[in-house]
Amino acid sequence: MSAPIIKIDGISKSFGTFKVLDGLSMQVMPREKLALIGPSGSGKTTILRILMTLERIDSGHIQIDGEQLYHMERNGQLLPADERHLARMRQKIGMVFQLFNLFPHKSVIDNVTLAPILTKGIPRAAAEKRAMELLDMVGMADKAKAMPAQLSGGQKQRVAIARALALQPRIMLFDEVTSALDPELVEEVLNVLWRLCSETDMTMLLVTHEMGFAHDFADRVLFFDRGKIVEEGKPDEIFRNPKQERTQGFLKKIIAAGHRV
Amino acid sequence: MTQWSGYFGLIMQGALVTIELTLMGSVLALIMAFLAGLGRLSRFFAIRALATAYIEFFRGTSIFVQLFWAYFVLPFIGISLTPLQAGVLALGLNVGAYAAEVVRGAIQSIGREQYEACTALNLGRWQGMRHVILPQALLVMLPTFGNNAIELLKATAVVSLISLADLTFQAQVVRSQTGNTLVPFTTILIIYFVLALIISWGVRSLERRMARGLDGVRV
């Protein structure tokens, strides 16, 4: 068995006096598809944002692909990471946001090519060719010249996925990528995720409220509550036969609210 | 140079005039702001046109011209104002025109859904405005009103040009009587700044009092 690609080791994170994560540890294997579920405010988004280096951690260690994320070695000493180290580490990770965060002043194709051209120095023509392949994959090739404002939510989200893929990260983070969408648009995006999941060997972490999707998609499900992993396991175990009371309660509520599991 | 204390008294007299002007000007500006701001949202074309004309005219012509007009030209059509009246009139009408746009903008910034909730609850036009829209809009206006009041305070310096013995004017007097420029001007700069600080502090604490409860902690 190979080494974990993400290794989180006793990390803590507070906002002001409020402790969101308290000594959390977890590991993710290469090519694993991981679903993170749990009630609102339990810290799911925070974990993804920490991995994307959008938030700093207060203590603990994270290793990505065998390398420290927030620390770097210099002459045998472990120092806090500088911006250069972080930038290098970020190349391995991509993220798709709940609210898409497309660049509104750039066309669809420019959104996808901007980072490869700027950060990898890929020539524009090559970048655009690759971008068109990605847009084709997410079914947005015909909208390459459109501006984000002209797209529906589901279309925006698909472009956002293509944009993240363009940097060819080894790990992709998805944060409730369907929850800002109308029910009918959710399908479009889930379809793209299905394809991605079956066709690539990226490691994927997915925060979602779509229990049905989490069930079918994930190799492993983590149930979070108050910054702790309450329960984890194969989707069938978690959804059909949750062991913890908290998990049972959560799933019951979700079902009562009309969601299919 | 024993007279400094006396001249300082002179400057304080000027400060009183400046405060008086600022207060009275602000009251007039506030009245005009609501009249014209609500006027611009009126259903009646004539009222809208009148309010728009007032706003564009007073924002368009410089405060100086308005002041000189109020002081030197109005008497020719039979309206003679004391310098203080002319100053209050020009300042109040001028700043009122700017504040009217603040009133209008704040009212329009209240989301359509609040108006719709009023309709759904069958509130009349004025009832909705009075109980639902204005109380919320007031909070939006307040910070800008604070800035407007400071603009007005600063504009009072201009009235020294029509011989009203405000702070700036008294500084000029002290300057020509003593031959010293630095002391009187530094003094009044500090006084103006303190007055401006008092205004913004007052507005901020008012704002805090009014905002109480609007962004409470979610339980």
């Binding site: 609210l99 509104p104 940097l167 | 368009g60 100086f64 600063k154 001007f185 700069l189």
Partner: protein
């Protein structure tokens, strides 16, 4: 006192001289205010607390005190420490500094109005700080600033009469000089008012256009 058209035509060339200076002062003042504002905005964002606090306080001070007094200061007090500026230069510096504190706020708001998600997306795309500024933040921050900046430049234009206090022969000063020569105030003051109104009405049209063109970014 009657309106005298002959007199109007007689003084027109003199007033037009003044108009030129007024416009020149406004243009130079605007350029300076744009630069000063940017410098202030950047200094206030600086991680160096000493710098950002000092600049912040100075900007507050300049914004809280009248431009007229600042002009007196620049023109009559600075020479004591060896800084001797020609009237127009002193005037432009006064306008530029004063309005720079306002444009700084425009820059700040413009930058802060770019949603946090854009910074984060830029990071997730692995852009560095410079790339983030030039490709993501500025292109979104600048267009909505344009109408706000223009607004302040128009306000500055209306305050140029203050330069008469430091012997700049702009429009207002020319008008006063004419008035003093002939002992007639009505015509010159009215003409000055009309001139400001005309320019302002034009600038309102320009502003509306700028707002439509640049005011909103569609997301």
């Amino acid at each position: 006192m009657e309106w005298d058209w002959n007199f109007v035509w007689e003084i027109m060339p003199t007033l037009i001289q003044g108009v030129k200076i007024t416009i020149l002062a406004t243009l130079l003042g605007s350029v300076l205010a744009a630069i000063v504002g940017l410098a202030i905005a950047l200094a206030r964002r600086s991680p160096n607390k000493g710098l950002s606090r000092t600049v912040g306080f100075l900007a507050e001070f300049i914004r809280g005190t009248p431009l007229l007094v600042q002009l007196y200061f620049i023109f009559y007090v600075l020479p004591d420490i060896g800084i001797l500026l020609p009237p127009l230069v002193a005037g432009v510096i006064g306008l530029g500094l004063h309005y720079g504190t306002y444009t700084a706020e425009v820059y700040r708001a413009g930058i802060e109005n770019v949603p946090r998600g854009q910074w984060e997306a830029a990071k997730a795309c692995n852009l560095n700080a410079r790339q983030t500024w030039t490709h993501i933040i500025m292109p979104q921050a600048i267009p909505p600033m344009i109408p706000a900046l223009a607004n302040y430049f128009i306000a500055m234009f209306k305050e140029t009469p203050l330069l008469s206090a430091i012997t700049v022969l702009e429009l207002m000063n020319q008008a006063k000089s004419v008035a003093n020569t002939y002992y007639r105030y009505v015509e010159p003051m009215t003409l000055v008012g009309a001139f400001f109104l005309v320019i302002s009405l034009f600038s309102v049209v320009l502003l509306r256009w700028l707002e439509r063109r640049y005011g909103k970014i569609e997301r």
